[in-house]
Each structure stands twice: as structure tokens, then as C-alpha cells.
Symmetry: C2
Subunit: 172 residues, 2 copies
């Protein structure tokens, strides 16, 4: 585990950021999703020190997010491929890219993504896996989940009470 403080949190964002929050890791993943699978060519593209790249790839290996495949016997050379668990990070990458295209790219997106099924250049929007409608910052509400601890349950209940108060105050 990369960032222990985060890995030990009872929080899906904290635990994920325990490796994704390491500097360079999202860019290493960008390269792997792009199809750039070899150490030297990832290093050249990113301009990152080899000890740092090596450390990041090792964390991703330990986390089961990438696997090594030997592509040359003499000299022995490996390439790094995303596992299913790694490919599952695609929604994270799509969301980061969509935000960056919208807010940091005044001259247009550096990289477009084409949706092969409909043929259009796309930006990802988060959809509800139950009804398919778009999820926004205003149409979801947090509540304690099955894995919540006592503190988290108490906190979610307090938040509900505060929200109810706020709504009551707003309608006065």
C-alpha cells in the first residue's frame, strides 16, 4: 500500500487514493490506457525519473491493477498491462479528463475520445446504474452504507438533521 494513512481509512475515496494519490500514478495509468505498455517508453513520454516510475509500477502490481508480461527473453523485457481491476479505473480517468477538457483546455481538448458504438467524440457523464439518468451534485444524497462504522452512522444522521433544519429555515 502506497499511502498508509489513506489505506487504513474506512472510506472508498481514501482507500482508492492510497495508490491513485501518489504523484505520477494517474499519468502512468493514462499511458497504459493509451496502449503505452513499456517502461522505457512510458518514462520517455512522461519525463519521470526511473526510480519513481519503478516505484509507482510496483505499487500498481501489488494492488493487482497491472500485470507484467514478458515480451522478450534475451534480454528479458516485460510490458505492463492493465488487469480487469485496472480497466475498472476507466470511469475515473474519463471523469478527470472530462473535467480537465472543460475547465483547463481553452484551446480545445488535447485528446478526444471516440465512442465506437455511436461514432461521436464524447465526454463521459455519470449515470445512475439503476435508472440510467444523469447523476449530479444536486440529485444524490449520502447515507450510511452497510460498511459504515459507528462514527460514520452518527455523522450521517447528524447531517440529515442539519439538512432538515436548513430546508425548514429556507421555507420560513
Amino acid at each position: 500500500m502506497a499511502i498508509e494513512t489513506f489505506a487504513e481509512m474506512n472510506c472508498s475515496i481514501g482507500r482508492t487514493m492510497s495508490f491513485l494519490g501518489e504523484r505520477w500514478t494517474p499519468l502512468v495509468l493514462r499511458e497504459l490506457f493509451f496502449g503505452n505498455r513499456r517502461f522505457e517508453s512510458i518514462q520517455t513520454e512522461l519525463g519521470v525519473a526511473s526510480n519513481i516510475l519503478s516505484s509507482r509500477l510496483n505499487t500498481l502490481l501489488e494492488e493487482g491493477i497491472v500485470e507484467r508480461h514478458r515480451y522478450s527473453e534475451r534480454p528479458e523485457r516485460f510490458e505492463y498491462r492493465l488487469t480487469e481491476k485496472g480497466l475498472d479505473l476507466q470511469p475515473v480517468m474519463l471523469a478527470i479528463q472530462a473535467w480537465g477538457d472543460r475547465h483547463t483546455a481553452p484551446d480545445g481538448a488535447p485528446l478526444d475520445l471516440v465512442h465506437l458504438d455511436c461514432g461521436h467524440v464524447v465526454h463521459a457523464v455519470p449515470a445512475c446504474d439503476h435508472c440510467g439518468e444523469e447523476l449530479t451534485a444536486r440529485n444524490v444524497r449520502p447515507q450510511a452504507g452497510p460498511g459504515a462504522n459507528a462514527h460514520q452512522r452518527e455523522r450521517a444522521a447528524r447531517r440529515d438533521a442539519e439538512e432538515a433544519e436548513r430546508r425548514a429555515a429556507a421555507t420560513k
Copy 2:
């Protein structure tokens, strides 16, 4: 700008990670999305040093992701609220949380999100903003965008050629 190397990249992922890649920032955003807007209570919840929290909030202010609102005059106290640009980060947070719930929470999600429109506990899936279908690691293809530089155009073309070769080899 927080991480200059990333901010200067012609890459929507790099530029976004220039602030989102700072340690603790995604957890600060988690708190803000949850409705926890005050310095002291964010600090208590996260257990982060006050100089670090202060630095992270300042970056978010500079980036236009949060705004300060005074809620007390004596003593003068402020709370931090997400701007529209900040609320636009919701898809990123949803995607990170969905991955974490799936891969790091064997005892169930610590926090559930309820979609207010359909009433169900949801996990976000990325959808195409054109046709609405789900985007996956296998149904999108990168290509040079309008903001691509010469290197990126050359690289995208080379990738296309390599992919074509791979497909040809696979069908032999």
C-alpha cells in the same frame, strides 16, 4: 497552481491532477461534498495538520473550485463552499467512490449514495453524452483533439497504425 510540472502539461489529466493530485485534496473535497464546510470541522474529521489543510484550501480557492463565505463577524469566521467549477468535480468523486466500493470494501460501502430521482442506492457508471450508452475501456478510442500539439498528433497517428497492425496480426 499546486504541482507545476503537471499544470504545464498539454493534458487534461495532468492539468487536473496539478491540484487534485496533492495529498489530502480529494478528501477535503469529499468533506465539502458531504456538506462539511468549516476549517476546524474538516480538520477534526480528517486528522490533517492545519498548515496542510490551509495550503490545500488556498490552492482550491486560487483554482476557483471553492469560495469563502463569512458566517461570523466576531470572531471573523469563514466557511468554504464549492463553486460551480467545484461541483463539476462530482463525476470524479463518484467514479473514485464507485471503484473503491467495488474493490476496497469487502464489508460493504461505508457510504451509500441515494439517487433522489429514482430512490435507489447507486453507483455511477460513465455514459456517453451523445447517445447515453455506457462507456467502457473497450468501446472508446483516443484520437488527437483540437488542442493537440505536433507530438500528440504524431503519437495518435502512430498508435492507430500499431493498432491496425495488431488487429491484422490477430486475424491471420
